[in-house]
Amino acid sequence: METLRCMRIEDRPAGETPAGKVDPSPMFGAWFNTDKNTGGVVRMELRESGGRFVVQAWGAGSPELFDWGETAATAHAANVGSREGMAFSAVYDFGFVETFLAAYTKSGILVLDTFNTFKDGSGRADYFTREFFHR
């Protein structure tokens, strides 16, 4: 039997791993920022599109929100043996800025971290945000 490569204890399955992929559907739906005055991400939709798990986000703007469009997301479970999605990661590349999304759900709240790297030489500092969303 082949030994599984592990970089920490949690990488070892406790038993048989169930067949199939991580199911992202527990995270599907529309998520709204708990801060109505946010300057960051106002809302997100998580769904399946064309057989892929995707996220669509809207950034704060006036008079209209910035529709970031869809991007593919990777669903994560709580451990190596679970198939229930509870977190995801995704990337938006807008050309002038790259935004990495790292998010997880807990007790009905979605917590979104963004890591934003400017590529336009504007002198703006790369920055981090942490925001909370409800359905």
Binding site: C6, F115, R124, A125
Partner: protein
């Protein structure tokens, strides 16, 4: 003057851009960080260094009898806003071949929160998984 491109209100910098030559101050992240949870099954310890302006990350996974040394990787530091200088967060990626781990980390008070997003690439059937650990500075 060229208009700033933005993807959300927070991207906008006013009144004047931060000089491009101004590097992000990595000092708030630098040091040895130890997991509060001695029974953690995730990451046991993280060392962060500023090497000529580069953020160098070295992590140790939990293991027995010894922690598993993940070696060094270069991280990206982030501030709390487009006009600020002090690092409050970083992102780093380890690619071990069989496993890719993205560390998404931030300071909260004097606590370092490390969220690990792990994806197996070895066909073992193990699920991609999320794990969070909290660290104090030694």
């Amino acid at each position: 003057m060229q208009a700033q491109r933005i993807s959300r209100a927070r991207d906008f910098l006013t009144p004047a851009p931060r000089p491009a030559a101004t590097a992000t101050d990595l000092a708030p992240l630098v040091g040895t960080w130890v997991n509060f949870d001695v029974a953690s099954r995730g990451i046991a310890r993280v060392e962060i260094a500023d090497r000529d302006g580069e953020l160098i990350v070295r992590a140790w996974g939990t293991g027995s009898p010894e922690p598993c040394d993940w070696g060094e990787t270069v991280g990206e530091a982030f501030t709390d806003g487009v006009a600020l200088h002090a690092a409050v967060a970083f992102r780093a990626v380890y690619d071990f071949g069989a496993l890719r781990v993205m560390l998404a980390c931030y300071l909260n008070k004097r606590l370092l929160v490390v969220d690990a997003y792990s994806v197996f690439q070895d066909g073992s059937g193990r699920s991609p998984y999320f794990q969070r650990d909290h660290f104090y500075q030694r």
